[in-house]
Symmetry: C2
């Protein structure tokens, strides 16, 4: 059922554009979904993309605008006059329109707003621009269906028919008092199945989940997921209904949050994509590599302290990457589980219980690994038993400590109000490299005496 | 607005249970959301949880059952008779009921189904049990509102009122022909704003997105996200409408998929949580650690080949963890970006373009790092310039190769039909450790001659 975008299609479109065959292009794109057209436009050069944009009608181009890559959108918005942009915004819901306007330079912003024909729509958009984009206010739209608690079902249905014209999807009907304060909700199902004379005050459900305009977006996502909500009303400081957030906006928040955690774990500090420029990618990646390099300097220094071992027990130095790798891997495993537990709110029990569990787990794992190391080290690498034993004892200590660092650093960061995902990735591997090598040589020094 | 679950509340509930104060417990939990009660029950021991379960009515307990941790649910289901379970299932939507039944042992499954009072409901559930849980069939529910293309709006509204009683949320009204084949859809908004005499055939939208019963769940998620759908109909091989999938089920798929990628990148091979048992956690973590250990053996062997350097250039060995760490970090960065690009379908351009870009990016990054290394190495670590230069040349080569491995291994895995996320984490770091150290000493041998 899905539309296929391949090289052939792109070439054909490029040719049509080059030959200025407007009619054929319109026919070709007529039944294509706006998300697919946006993907096609992302592949074209900007003058071709703008050509396509101009031959389609604004109902479609408005939605395409939303789906484009940010850079392509920026280019197209630059080519459009304030009036042309205003026409696009008239077609969009208030929250989407506010997102687009938010990307414009300040002076163009005002010109565009003044060109929007529907004054109510413009007022709603301006209102939304006030809120921080990471809050409920920044996510919400103004399109909602609300009824007064003093009406009856008949008035309600009549009013709703009018309001529904401006609302793309009716999720819930909110009930407010004369001061526009949120009192409860009415389900569409109730409305479909109740007699028309019933007063609203008798049928509405007074228990309603809501969020405030300044609730953080990830908190909104958590609440909507936890309570299985498809839409949630947003109220201001005085409890007045000012907007609603729908689940599709939340899907994006969830996806972004998960992607961000993943990128932090991989040592990428900004939201970048494979297709971003080399400069952007470097800016996201290089800081972590510099951190790792400086960490590497410390490991060099640490090993320098033990260079007395080189003469008699040079093979100890062959094992440093192994020790560092094990410490790094164990640390990342531990921290990833904690970061996910914190994100999904599934961590239970006290810190003390967690400590005991983590120590037991890492003792179990490291003992198994130590046995493999002693046997494998002897038969595969020809390491003497005393050196093998030294390395094994070190391995167990290093793993236990790395797992404790991996467990408690994210918990502490989280308590301090810092994103615990920062603790995964290069941060954990680098600090575990240093600790691991220090512990390893210290134990070796005690056991082998050099 | 959110209900707070703290130690005090849990203690109070435990006390009420111990003193058998049913009435007080019911009052306390009356207005509490089922998701919150489920979280409370996860914290209680199993006899307390079962006590709570028995004093609440089945409308609430059915929803609680769904929200419980899998182990807690398993314990409670074990305590309930087939008849009691059937009462719960009667309250649940077909897809949720099928999920619960799916967790029962085979013989209990059949007993439970035979006890379900609503025969239609039971038939729907049995039908759903046929599908693999990772497909559209496994995600879909049977609750939907459908109308015949030959009806008019009035009949439609009448029929819908009846059907809506069984449907929790009306997303879309599907239009079918006499053979139940999906023809199109009708929006609630259209229905609210169209005259009652209009024939359905005149108002329905024939373009409708749908998936087949055997479409994989991640593909369903991708389509629903891409096309901003809140519900999608599911058809069988003959195009007959058999169910619908709603966005809230898709939120779970997206979340799970992101969590899985994250865990793979962190070297955790199964879906585990911090609160799982030590055995489960070991099973998910130990295999990757063994892999890393064996990779470590190879690095030991590789360094053994170059032990001639120890006498004159012992400091070279101090840098092996640094080289390994840089190779590992660069590799994970590169692969994480590719894995996300593949998951979000945002990779464009040819392999050749990607190769050029990745080489340029890593040359830029590694040159900056090499300069830091030469200067820092000399002033901070007292390394001579010729050794510093050797290490820097190695660092640049190692980073370029690590970034190529990190970029192309996931792309190749993906082409071979293997989850590219496997290539992140321990797999990449281990292979990059080995390659990195081999390259490092080979270059050192050529430059310094030992």
């Amino acid at each position: 059922m899905e539309f296929k975008i391949d090289r052939d299609l792109i070439s054909q479109i490029e040719q049509y554009v080059a030959e200025n065959r407007e009619k054929e292009l319109q026919n070709l794109l007529e039944d294509v979904h706006y998300a697919d057209i946006a993907e096609i436009m992302d592949e074209l050069n900007s003058s071709e993309a703008i050509y396509i944009f101009h031959i389609l009608d604004s109902e479609k181009t408005a939605e395409i605008l939303l789906e484009l890559d940010e850079e392509v959108r920026e280019k197209i918005l630059k080519e459009l006059s304030p009036k042309e942009i205003a026409v696009e915004l008239d077609e969009l819901s208030t929250d989407d329109a506010a997102d687009v306007i938010g990307e414009l330079p300040q002076d163009k912003k005002e010109e565009v707003i003044s060109e929007i024909l529907d004054v109510e729509h413009a007022k709603d958009i301006v209102d939304l621009l006030r809120y921080d984009e990471d809050t409920a206010g920044g996510l919400m739209g103004k399109e909602l269906v609300k009824v007064n608690e003093n009406w009856n079902v008949l008035t309600c249905v009549k009013e709703m028919r009018e309001q529904a014209v401006n609302v793309q999807r009716v999720h819930s009907i909110y009930v407010v008092d004369d001061e526009n304060r949120l009192k409860g909700r009415l389900s569409l199902k109730d409305l479909l199945t109740t007699s028309t004379k019933t007063p609203i005050s008798e049928v509405y459900i007074s228990k309603v989940d809501f969020v405030k305009v300044n609730t953080p977006d990830v908190e909104v996502a958590r609440i909507m997921q936890r309570y299985d909500l498809e839409a949630i009303p947003v109220v201001d400081e005085l409890g007045r209904l000012v907007g609603r957030i729908t689940i599709d906006d939340i899907v994006d928040v969830i996806k972004e949050e998960a992607d961000k955690d993943y990128q932090l774990a991989a040592g990428i500090s900004q939201d970048v994509e494979a297709d971003d420029s080399i400069i952007e990618l470097t800016r996201a990646r290089l800081p972590w590599l510099v951190l790792a390099l400086l960490g590497g300097f410390v490991t060099v220094k640490v090993m320098g302290l033990f260079d007395g071992a080189m003469k008699e027990h040079g093979e100890l130095f062959f094992f440093t990457p192994l020790i560092a790798a094990m410490a790094g891997n164990v640390g990342v495993q531990s921290s990833a589980i904690i970061v996910q537990g914190l994100a999904n709110n599934t961590l239970s029990g006290s810190l003390w219980q967690r400590l005991i569990k983590e120590v037991s787990l890492s003792l179990l794992n490291s003992t198994i690994l130590a046995i493999i190391l002693i046997i494998g080290g002897h038969f595969l690498l020809g390491v003497s038993y005393d050196v093998g034993l030294t390395i094994s004892i070190s391995l167990i200590s290093v793993i236990v400590i790395a797992s404790l660092i991996g467990t408690f650093v994210p918990i502490l960061l989280n308590k301090g109000g810092i994103d615990p995902a920062l603790a995964t990735g290069p941060f954990i591997t680098t600090s575990n490299d240093i600790c691991g090598i220090l512990i390893y040589f210290s134990i070796a020094k005690v056991v082998l005496g050099f």
